[in-house]
Symmetry: D2
Subunit: 333 residues, 4 copies
């Protein structure tokens, strides 16, 4: 870490600051330049509060030379992490196709969607039991009962399952869930992350709506630093000024996260765009950008013509999408 002191800082102020830093068990190398004094901090700088240091009146700027994430960092772990879920591998060239309905509604619904997406090439089943909703009056999911239905669909289809957790107190319900999802709004619910770090379950961590990629990696680090290295990163759209799509899918997140980290990166075009008509195109683009998998909403309600326009694909659309994605994977391999 480098701290650049302002022109005009007195020797006694500089000395004060150096002592303060040394008290944090850091070595401090001082370099007096033409206009500025530069302090090079050596040691475990991950404990230094960069915002506090930066806000000191004598400090011009502070810059980390090494990234603050360690376990998620590709520098210290050059090989791709491969996460095993049942027979399925994610990352390191293995592609995950996660599909299923937004919400779990009935046994008939979740089982039939499971069978349909499996037939079309999905290798993991998704379905929401606990639903984070902006309004306390909106449907919050079937909760415990939803998990039970999802487990039945797992048994019927043989697909591993993923579903979202909102409260660590529900953890025991997730015993037979294969991947636990942390939603965008909980990306910086640090207590939840730490508790999930004490399990060995694969965690799919969604990027928050206005968070940077470094913040996403720091949240992954919260899980990993407790001992759980099975973290899957998920880009699901960021908030922007655009109103035509629900969020703005940031596909550059894929190559950037691959540069910075060894963790697999999944893309969710359904939530990002909010429009079924855009999902196949953006899924294709995600694969071309190197995604390690996609997560898409598929419903199975031929009676409900209304739903066709929403963000979910029909099984037929999903089937045709998968064939296309496979071809793109071959081209970019």
């Amino acid at each position: 870490m480098i701290a650049i002191l302002k022109n005009g800082t007195t020797p006694s102020q500089t000395e004060h600051l150096i002592q303060w830093l040394k008290n944090m068990n850091l070595d401090v190398h001082v370099s007096h330049g033409h206009e500025v004094t530069i302090l090079g901090l050596v040691g475990d700088t991950s404990r230094v509060d960069m915002e506090l240091l930066n806000s000191l009146e004598i400090v011009e700027t502070v810059k980390r030379v090494s990234e603050p994430f360690k376990q998620a960092n590709r520098k210290f772990h050059p090989q791709d992490t491969v996460i095993q879920v049942g027979d399925i591998k994610i990352g390191g060239g293995n592609f995950a196709v996660i599909a299923g309905p937004c919400s779990i509604e009935t046994e008939e619904q979740i089982v039939s969607v499971a069978m349909a997406v499996k037939a079309s090439g999905a290798n993991i089943l998704r379905g929401g039991a606990f639903k984070p909703r902006t309004s306390p009056y909106a449907f919050q999911g079937l909760k415990d009962a939803g998990i039970q239905l999802l487990l039945k669909a797992k048994e019927a289809s043989g697909l591993p399952i993923i579903t979202e957790i909102m409260n660590i107190r529900a953890l025991e319900l997730f015993e037979n869930v294969d991947i636990i999802q942390v939603g965008a709004r909980n990306m910086q619910n640090f207590d939840l992350l730490q508790e999930l770090g004490k399990t060995k379950k694969p965690i799919l961590l969604k990027r928050g709506l206005a968070n940077t990629l470094q913040e996403l990696l720091m949240s992954a680090e919260y899980i990993m630093s407790e001992g759980n290295e099975n973290v899957i990163l998920c880009e699901r759209g960021i908030r922007s000024f655009e109103t035509y799509t629900r969020n703005t899918l940031d596909l550059s997140a894929i190559p950037v996260l691959h540069e910075l980290s060894h963790l697999p990166v999944i893309v969710d075009p359904s939530h990002a765009t909010g429009k079924a008509s855009l999902v196949p195109t953006m899924a294709a683009a995600a694969v071309a950008a190197g995604a390690d998998g996609i997560m898409v909403e598929v419903h199975n309600n031929p009676a409900c013509a209304l739903c066709d326009g929403a963000q979910s694909l029909t099984p037929a659309q999903f089937d045709s999408l998968n064939a296309k994605l496979q071809k793109i994977r071959e081209v970019i391999a």
Copy 2:
């Protein structure tokens, strides 16, 4: 709630949609216009998933006519809510001055700051015991021990206290805490909000870094819908593209929240700006904008010349600020 259907929607599609809406116990009034068909939905529309409805292919747009928040809504509760904390009132013309250090460090520190800020006119003491930090390696606060020290400062000074909760499992530690703070990153931790709604404690709810004011009010509604009406809203800066300040303080939030809601609105200029030099000016502006209180960081470390530039005020600066705020309050009264 109004749903406008696209030009070209068939009668059978319209009928499908109307049946679906009626199944949600809504009355549907249909109006066929020149270019469009408009559905007026009457009944408890707070349960309608607006995003889903909006994403249907035949729907041009959906618009709530009534706000989705009820208990926080000034329309149904025209008078200002006044929250009582010990002898202190917040809201309805009563001004709260909340001051104290960012983190609780030692008994000597928190007690002496408490005495200092009380002498300068603070009526509530703040201090962080559980600290949400982007990095798992950064100092996370003294936690349980910090709460104990804060309680000693409460006893010594007679000031009511406020501190942040990050996990509902810590709730029993907060028994003698007067106001529980929910931080910006937990504004949409809906499970935490619901649990706090089951208590009777005043809750200070901070706006998330990229959240709208309606989202803030919906989060307040989560607390209120469980039975706890003692919610204080707090503007603490939003994320913007500006880098000179840590966040961008949105002071228009004050009159807007006052138009929309009866809940008191507090402003935290310390976290918003991240620079002590800007705190007094922005606190003054907040008061001129009608804030029901301010929350500022004050430290008490005359030996540490370094800290003077950070976001905390010295007791002397705080003292002089308070005198100025009082005068502005008189002018705008």
Copy 3:
């Protein structure tokens, strides 16, 4: 256009508003609903100031039912626009590969890059003569002399050329330029757009850093409404909170613009990411998302090892990228 009036609007206020709207030559259809009154405005609503209407105290909300852009609108022009530049076609299944250096520096440089990119499959040459720079002290381009050098490269290579205009007074210099570029910072320089609308030149219009897609299409409409229908839209990254990339490339802009408009859509991954290492990946993703072309920076300076890390590709990297893009085009065709 639909205007929804607030509950509580008096009949006389409603009548006032209707008269005001009729004075704008609009027919007004009134529908009294349960909670609200809805006005349907029929006629040329593109002249109605939506923001003003929306800000009236009695108006709950205003919603356009038809998009405010007409000539750029796919509804009124279902077939893809194909823009002809010399022998090259852009749009409607024809793919443009625009390449060249960021700035034109010397005759030797621009001619040799032109020959190199042509050999690798580029069909249009780019190069900056007028450079918009945040600082008045930074290099602003070779200006007039730069255009002359670019014309020499056009002659030598036979490639059509594109370069940016910053001031309509320079228009005569662009007589032999094939495509005129309007930069992101000038996307809402409406006077410049109108003047370019009076020419017949193809215009490549870049999206502004914080502009919505509708705003981009309205700016295209400024050009088209003056008689010039040869507009090419260009996504070049939007401002976001992410700092690792220079901007955030919004690839969902491609399918959305294709839904809304018949105009071709080009993607510039070089400016968007600011990092050569990300350009090939994001170019591939853009093609998978259906882009009608890409615009990439290529330099030709084997002596300058330094530049390899910047946002420009080497000719060899560009060559290999083109081969990959071709394969993706075949897969998604």
Copy 4:
């Protein structure tokens, strides 16, 4: 300027970079640290392309130690700039009250508003003749004829006038205009700024919708570097995710711009909020934050009850606002 090189940079790469920098007439001081090599660049670094330097593969980061703006910089010009317009002074403790209608409509309208706002304490008259509009079909202002009407109001009232320019070719129309306004969408229309820099007219420069304060100051620098030091900065709201207000007024811009620059800072709460009900509160807050003036919309159309809810104040509201602002100015003086 400091450039920090990545760990692993070879001596020959470092040498290459140093030579490249020396070719730009910079002295380069090299400091080899524990993990990194730091280059201190001395000389006229305002010409260095920071983005290019930053994008080089061997460069970890680049940091300006001195701000890139010089003439607008308070460091080199500690005293507040005071701009004289007729008898009126702006800045350095002199407060400007700029008021008038959004658009100039008729002679009767602009003259009567001028007389009304003068009577209520305005010292400068505003009115739009050239109106930047998102849509080419919307009313673009009376243009030349509007300027003529504004000049009549100037003569009738004796107030100096301000109006917006959109195209440098209209400059001669502005001969008797006292302050020329550059709108938010033209803040980075660098050619326009340079041409205005060749005049001696006071220029009111509005901050762009998504621009940082440093970018605003760099645009001021464009004007000043051509010889015109009479620049007034104007905060008018930034784009945010909030939808209740038209834009989000960033009042922290006032103390920040005052720290960084000696130029006066004006606030426009009418355009920022888009709601008359919020204008007085935000104007009061702007004054408390130290603004050197405000610019508010005032209409004079007692017959048009409709307009009362829009962003314009009535003369009576404006009158009462002015009295309050005066009191706040006394308190914070």
